[in-house]
């Protein structure tokens, strides 16, 4: 290898390159793709008496495939699943909207604050992100449970009547285990995901554009809506994706803060596997979730990112 100068490092470069590509590639094939294919296989099988019936049988020396779509039929006909998919999308959507409504002005004022102050503000937004997600959800249990101070405050302000009127809680003063507590919990935990990309976008904006708008006679309010907001569109999309995607498959928050009326799809998969002991059904629910929600979102996300790259 050392003998001829021209090929001094080429062979080892090649071996290095193969290893650098090959190790993570093999890892992902083995621990990401293969498990998912197994889920796909499970989704077309059924529970036997105690064990999952295998898709492939060997009958008289020949492999016989018995693919069963009964799980898919069941999902399509049973209302429970349809409702859970819709509920997941609904709660993820409202969480995203609330994160945007709170987060956009927040990111805006942060980006326009004194430059010396900005690193500290950024650090303060990042810090909750580093603390445990589970504990942040748990914190709301104490606040909204009967007697928690936020619950008391809401009842004292008679705000619970409003919440009851719009149908997000089921009884006056009963705030826990409702759509209300679920969406508040998710908004709380995912807010930093909305603020950070919006801040990154808004702080990079060329303020001379606003000057130009004002020279052309726009009031600050008009300039905000017609210059700042359209320019921050990429940040809005990025933040919304970062909130919406994990919310759809969320399990911990619905389990701790949601109730019987807020069944989301993550909980359905969990329950099918652990409580009903039916991995094939859990797999079918998972495959449908991936095909109907995750894949379209991922494609949209990629398309958006590429469009953004091109604009630069």
């Amino acid at each position: 290898m050392e003998s001829s100068k021209s090929s001094r490092w080429k062979p080892s470069w090649w071996r290095g390159r193969t290893a650098v590509i090959g190790i993570p590639y093999a890892w992902l094939l083995l621990f990401f793709l293969a498990p998912f294919l197994i889920v796909a296989k499970y989704s077309v099988s059924e529970m036997g008496a105690i064990m999952v019936e295998d898709v492939a049988h060997v009958v008289d020396g020949a492999v016989k495939l018995s693919i069963k779509f009964s799980n898919y039929v069941f999902i399509a006909t049973d209302r429970l699943y349809f409702h859970s998919y819709m509920a997941s999308i609904k709660y993820a959507f409202f969480t995203t909207v609330f994160c945007l409504v709170i987060g956009y002005p927040f990111a805006y004022f942060m980006a326009r604050a004194k430059a010396s102050l900005q690193p500290t503000l950024l650090m303060l937004v990042m810090l909750p992100f580093w603390t445990s997600f589970l504990l942040r959800v748990y914190a709301w249990k104490g606040l909204l449970d009967e007697g928690g101070w936020v619950a008391n405050l809401i009842v004292w302000l008679h705000f619970d009547r409003v919440l009851l009127a719009i149908g997000v809680i089921e009884a006056q003063g009963q705030l826990m285990h409702t759509s209300f507590s679920l969406v508040i919990g998710m908004t709380y935990t995912y807010l930093p995901f909305m603020i950070l990309p919006l801040y990154a976008n808004l702080s990079k904006m060329d303020l001379r554009l606003l000057e130009a708008a004002s020279d052309l006679g726009a009031t600050p309010w008009v300039a905000f809506w017609r210059v700042t907001v359209p320019l921050s569109f990429a940040g809005i999309i990025a933040g919304s994706m970062l909130v919406f995607i994990p919310c759809v498959g969320e399990y911990v928050t619905p389990e701790l803060l949601g109730g019987p009326t807020t069944l989301m799809i993550g909980r359905v998969i969990w329950d099918e596997n652990f409580s009903n002991n039916d991995p094939p059904m859990a797999s079918t629910v998972a495959v449908v979730l991936v095909l109907l929600i995750v894949v379209p979102l991922a494609i949209f996300n990629k398309y958006q990112a590429e469009a953004q790259e091109k604009r630069k």
Binding site: I21, V39, Y42, T131, W140, F224, G249
Partner: protein, 286 residues
């Protein structure tokens, strides 16, 4: 220069400050309340029964939590380290090797765990490991399988963090090193590695905290005797409010806050030192 932002008027300025203050209250008050109630003598969240360190005293004897914490730390340290190694390789592949067979597919697989609900990842890995175990009798569900799950999820996060740093690098520096006769491995250790150290540290901290906090994947992959701390906390929180959880939370938040503060100071200092060295080197040249 007069810039006309919405900050123009006094009213808008006040509104902006109020909004920021409100946002930070929203982000911090729940955590502060959680911490305060860890010192509550009463079991109830609705009633302040006086200051007490009772729950901390109980925590010291709570073997379930302590064993869980120990297991979580072991898994978090090892899986974060593994994630950074694998994630760096994946990031390096995506940034440096623009053409190889199956690149798009590879890139898709690196990014997919970021959008895949964790419930599905946990379920799929569980089903595969059960299938493997049925054939070869290994691996038993426990620490090792949890570790595998965390490593799989962490790798993607590490890859994204390292990738964004690698794309910023000036490729001419590596090319110069190669022109000067450095081997690829030397180019990586002497040129690339020092420039991406900071992102490696952030990736490690991120995957460490993800692993230390994980409930869903761990629940799917854990076996008898392997209960991580988040699983203990989760099962208690499910049953209702538990002051011992508040005490654990307070300890964890304080530790994390200190670590993040120390790490960010350290990173800022390293960055400043580097900038000083670079400008010193530039001065020597001229």
């Amino acid at each position: 220069m007069k810039t006309r932002t919405l900050f123009g008027t006094n009213f808008a300025k006040g509104f902006g400050r109020a909004w920021l203050a409100g946002g930070f209250l929203f982000l911090y008050l729940p955590m502060v309340t959680l911490m305060i109630f860890s010192f509550n003598h009463s079991r109830l969240a609705s009633h302040w029964g006086g200051f007490s360190l009772e729950w901390y005293r109980k925590l010291a004897d709570d073997t379930e939590i302590i064993n869980g914490l120990w297991l979580s730390l072991k898994i978090a340290v090892t899986s974060a380290t593994g994630s950074v190694v694998l994630g760096t390789m994946a990031a390096f592949t995506l940034v440096k090797y623009k053409r190889f067979r199956g690149r798009t597919f590879f890139s898709g697989m690196v990014n997919a765990p970021l959008v895949m609900p964790e419930v599905i990842q946990g379920l799929s890995l569980l089903l595969m490991l059960v299938a493997i175990q049925r054939v070869i009798g290994f691996p038993e569900r426990g620490m090792f399988t949890i570790w595998l799950g965390h490593l799989m999820i962490g790798m993607s996060y590490a890859a994204v963090v390292v990738q964004s740093r690698l794309t910023e690098l000036n490729p001419q520096l590596e090319e110069a090193a190669m022109d000067l006769g450095a081997r690829p491995w030397q180019v990586f250790t002497l040129v690339t590695f020092p420039m991406i150290t900071q992102s490696l540290i952030s990736a490690w901290l991120l995957t460490f905290s993800l692993s230390l906090d994980d409930v869903v994947a761990s629940a799917f992959l854990s076996g008898p005797g392997a209960t991580t701390m988040p699983l203990v906390i989760f099962s208690r929180a499910r049953l209702g409010l538990d002051p011992s959880v508040n005490a654990v939370a307070t300890v964890m938040i304080v530790v994390v806050a200190i670590c993040v503060a120390v790490a960010s100071i350290w990173v800022a200092r390293a960055e400043r030192r580097r900038a000083a060295e670079i400008s010193a080197a530039a001065r020597d040249d001229s």
